[in-house]
Subunit: 236 residues, 2 copies
DNA sequence: CGAATAGTGTCTTTTAGACACTATCGG
DNA sequence: CCGATAGTGTCTAAAAGACACTATTCG
């Protein structure tokens, strides 16, 4: 009879026929008033030269958990260390990768594109999500993009998450515009402002911003972001 | 220069140092007016003899995708072929399993305990979730149970999902009781019934049920379950 | 008929939408 | 002072909670 110690000493993961596992990232930012996603051009087989989501293997040495893998990939591609990061779903089947049965853990991240280190964008580039629909990406990455956008939109209806796409200080009109870009529709001004202010997700500062015509008050996040849900979703 | 075909012919997953990957299942049912979860006693190292969530490895041969693995585990343990099944989250880190860096994809399932094939419950048993909190489970399974319950509760606030725990026909009082068991609190009768009926998630049948005193009308699900969200969550 | 369980009528509260209105600034 | 953008006042609408009430059945 084996003890647990003897069992573990003999244990070799490679005797098992386990699937390939990767982490893929949907990294979103607003550029020129459009929702963009970061794509890299693949430099190796399979699907060499096709566009794909940034991602790759978990490093058993470097990463203490899956989120650390995601953060490492994010930092490598954008230079951004902290940002909103959320696990979307794990997708795995026999056909998504020609190397065989594979699983990917999909994350999405929201970043203020001003914070991106442009030197790192060597083989990667921003693409408006409307255009990505028509580009055949590597593997099943068109599907992954769809799932990430769906989650982002759903969160946008219930939370103040899209604040993560803006700098520290912003006007409520800017915030509303971001929401409208993500949801691809107009929102009523009065409800939007009331919602954000009454729920206390934003706080007025004493600064204002001249944006051409009348100056607009600058707001900042009050920090309740990651788990705050509005009592009702945005409707119309 | 390698072609994609040459690359794939040479490809051997075992040259990569990838983490172990498993699927774990939180299988819930209502027994004696309590929310129960199915646990098995582990028969092999590591954590031999401890209680754990049912689960195991993806079979590259048997399973065409991850959900198929989950369904296969569910059927093996309970005999139930179809039921509500939802992916919760993937958890992976260097410390959760003594065999090394490992990832588990956590699912939860809701089943009507009457449909369970009791012969299959050899080394597995139902445990009220309140008791499970105080039992040290194998690996990080106490945490997994917590995450599965959290997701179930959150869905219960927004959807009619708990219907999956009841037989075909049920009274609205029975349905409300299930909700109250899951949320561990009382709900106002009037709002609950109005909510279910007005949203059209249940449909009255012409049958009734004698449950001691006044007979209660039997209802059935209208089928809109998997993606229907009420306009507002349950509040009080 | 009384106790217990099923089920309703209706008022208030919360938060969303509609929409007309006012405020401020540059030119 | 005009046009454009920022921002508000206030009515209505939808769906939740409060709570007292009625309905049905068994014994």
């Amino acid at each position: 009879m084996l003890t647990e110690k003897q069992f573990l000493d003999d244990y070799d993961i490679h005797q098992y026929n386990i699937p390939l596992i990767t982490v893929d990232m949907g990294i979103f930012s607003i550029i020129d008033q459009q929702l963009n996603i970061l794509l890299i051009q693949r430099e190796s087989h399979p699907d060499k030269t096709k566009l794909a989501l940034p991602g790759g293997f978990i490093s058993k040495d470097k990463d203490k958990n899956i989120e650390a893998t995601a953060l490492r990939k994010l930092k490598k591609k954008t230079g951004v260390k902290l940002s909103y990061l959320e696990q979307v779903e794990s997708i795995g089947n026999a056909t998504r990768d020609p190397r065989g049965w594979s699983v990917t853990i999909l994350y999405f991240a929201l970043i203020d594109s001003n914070k991106v280190n442009k030197k790192l964008l060597q083989n990667s580039s921003w693409h408006p999500i409307d255009e990505v629909k028509h580009i055949p990406l590597a593997f099943d990455h068109n599907l992954l993009v769809k799932k990430a956008i769906k989650r982002l939109r759903s969160k946008t209806l219930y939370t103040a998450l899209p604040m993560a796409l803006l700098p520290e200080r912003f006007t409520l009109t800017e915030l509303q515009t971001i929401f409208e870009i993500i949801l691809a529709r107009k929102l009523p001004v009065k409800s939007f402002r009331r919602r954000m202010i009454d729920a206390g997700v934003v706080e007025a500062t004493d600064e204002s911003k001249i944006s051409g015509k009348r100056t607009a008050k600058l707001y900042k996040s009050t920090g309740i972001k990651k788990d705050f849900y509005f009592p009702r979703p945005l409707q119309k």
